[in-house]
Amino acid sequence: MDVLLLPLVNGLTQAAVLFMIAAGLTLIYGVLGVINFAHGSFVMLGSYLTMFFFVGKFDTVLGLFSFIFISSVVITLLGWAVEVLVMRRMYKANEFYMVLATYAILLIIEGCVEKYWGASPLSLPLPDSLNTTISIFGISVPFYSILICIIGIAVMGILWFLMNHTNLGRIIRAAAADKTMTNSLGVNVPALFTVVFVIGIFLAAFAGGLLAPTVALLPNMGVNLVIQAFVVVVVGGLGNIKGALLSAVLVGVLDSFLGFYIPVLTGITSYIVMAVILTIRPQGLLGKVG
């Protein structure tokens, strides 16, 4: 039983984090039409800031989560500044100029983190009350992994509610379908772009904060995460949140299972999944044709 359950829990944990990153990416692409290479560096910044605020001061569960939240808010403000100062000038440009602009932001953030915290790996210990295991079917599973899964599901629910049952969600969906028409109906589309970008950055920073106790913090961790998230987004279909969820679970669980049984394949699986799915369905799992 444990040969099935452990990779499953690991895969779902990975899927939950990937989903939070990929949902922001796909939301930003769907509305703004920007492939945000800097997304991963906001995740990385989320991890570093959480560590910076948290370590050695408030070693409790409440402390951890409040500081994850605080650092997410700080990074969201940074994301807002980036949108207003840089992205807003780029919306009319060629999409490869936009990719380059976000790549430049990635380089700047990564360079600053490396300058301030150094290039060697740092770590953030879990508070003792979270560093336990719970037993499912007689197998002990890390409690924090389960917690991340639950938070992932909660984020998914909130996003679903936001997109389908609030006015903002309706406007976002309208803008994704037709910006000009939405603008002519009296919606302030540039302000909407800022809101969407900021939501995406908040999700990324939050995922980074959650991830912080489970990984070694490195300035280039964001670069690797964003590629994984891209795979998820592209496999699911660009601009499609449901697709991102489906492919996050697919990629996360498949990668974890194959990596568990064939260790050589760890990390490669997701790219193979992507190559296979895109050669069969070039627009992604749930993407629209054209």
């Binding site: 000038r89 780029m90 100029y97 790549y103 700047i108 600053c112 592209v234 490669i268 997701s270």
Partner: protein, 340 residues
């Protein structure tokens, strides 16, 4: 090309040819690196500018070329055979990657090239025979024999001539290809692939061929690298390396054939100036942002604008038609933004 620019290029080439006689070894090492970057970026430019295909996995060919040359050089083959073989291996690989990626277009195409290049990276990273994470150290090129004249190219200042010769010949070939009928087909595909295919041209075949050619020269540039550095690591294939030619081309100017050359020199200068501060990434990012936001035509675009400004103010004195000149400058810039 104009007669004056050909003359200028010949003078420049002569200067670079004689350079190792006048500068110290560290500087000719730097020059060698710049030449390699020039070829790497030019091979990328060939698909990006001519064919309009923005690949984000170009480092795969560069790295595979570098690994092929590392292995073959250690087996004792002559350097020119090694370069050719590395190019051919990269060519075959890039035909495969091109065939798979060209099923989709635009940003999907870019992401597919990126992820397939990641597969190549991880495969090399995990192959113990290729040194895994540590790579292959101690790569020394064999001496070559040119018409009875022995040349010990294991020293960087001598190896410089191999690099110089290869890069100049490769860029010359790329120049001819860009202006050949193949280049015209590719431009026509870039502008309107549906119309081109209705003219009876097999769009996909030409695109894959172009991708393969870019892979070939990318492989050759990588193959030049490993005997120069003496060591090769999997980092040569990482995806940040794939962003390098894109950055260089953009710094130089994406709309000119000479963009990669100007870009590589500028990039290497910036890098050398900022490496000591330990924050070269921050500077690079700021410069990239400035280029993207303010100077979309790169250094060449800025130079052209400057020259046309000089001409305008010069012709004012002569009383020539200013409006026409201004119009050309403006139109050139807006067309540049659109065409890529």
């Amino acid at each position: 090309m104009k007669k004056s620019s050909i003359f200028f290029i010949i003078i420049l080439l002569l200067g670079y040819f004689l350079a190792p006689l006048f500068v110290n070894n560290a500087f000719s090492f730097k020059l060698s690196e710049i030449f390699i970057l020039v070829l790497f970026a030019s091979s990328f430019q060939f698909i990006a500018r001519t064919a309009g295909m923005f690949s984000l996995g170009h480092a795969a060919f560069y790295g595979v070329g570098a690994y092929a040359s590392a292995v073959l050089v250690q087996k004792g083959y002559s350097i020119f055979f090694v370069l050719l073989m590395a190019g051919v291996i990269a060519f075959l690989l890039s035909m495969i990657i091109g065939y798979l990626s060209l099923r989709s277009t635009g940003i999907y195409f870019a992401m597919l090239t990126l992820s397939l290049a990641q597969v190549v990276y991880l495969v090399i990273y995990r192959t113990p025979a290729l040194g895994g994470q540590d790579g292959i150290p101690g790569i020394l090129a064999q001496p070559i024999n040119l018409f009875g004249w022995e040349l010990d190219i294991s020293r960087p200042e001598k190896y410089y001539y191999v690099i110089f010769f290869t890069v100049v010949v490769s860029i010359f070939i790329l120049y001819i290809l860009t202006n050949s009928s193949l280049g015209h087909f590719l431009r026509s595909i870039r502008e309107n692939s549906v119309r081109t295919s209705s003219l009876g041209i097999n769009v996909k075949r030409y695109q894959i061929l172009a991708f393969g050619i870019a892979g070939f020269f990318g492989g050759v540039s990588g193959a030049l690298l490993s005997p120069l550095e003496g060591i090769i690591t999997p980092e040569t294939l990482s995806w940040t390396q794939s962003a390098l030619p894109l950055i260089i081309v953009l710094i130089g100017g994406i709309n000119s054939f000479w963009g990669p050359i100007v870009g590589a020199i500028t990039f290497e200068m910036l890098y050398s100036l900022t490496i000591d501060s330990g924050a070269s990434n921050i500077y690079l990012g700021i410069i990239l942002l400035a280029i993207v936001l303010l100077f979309p035509d790169g250094v060449i675009g800025v130079g052209r604008r400057f020259i046309s400004m000089l001409r305008t103010s010069f012709s004012k004195k002569k009383g020539r038609n200013m409006e026409e000149l201004k119009g050309v400058g403006k139109h050139g810039n807006s067309a540049a933004r659109r065409s890529i």
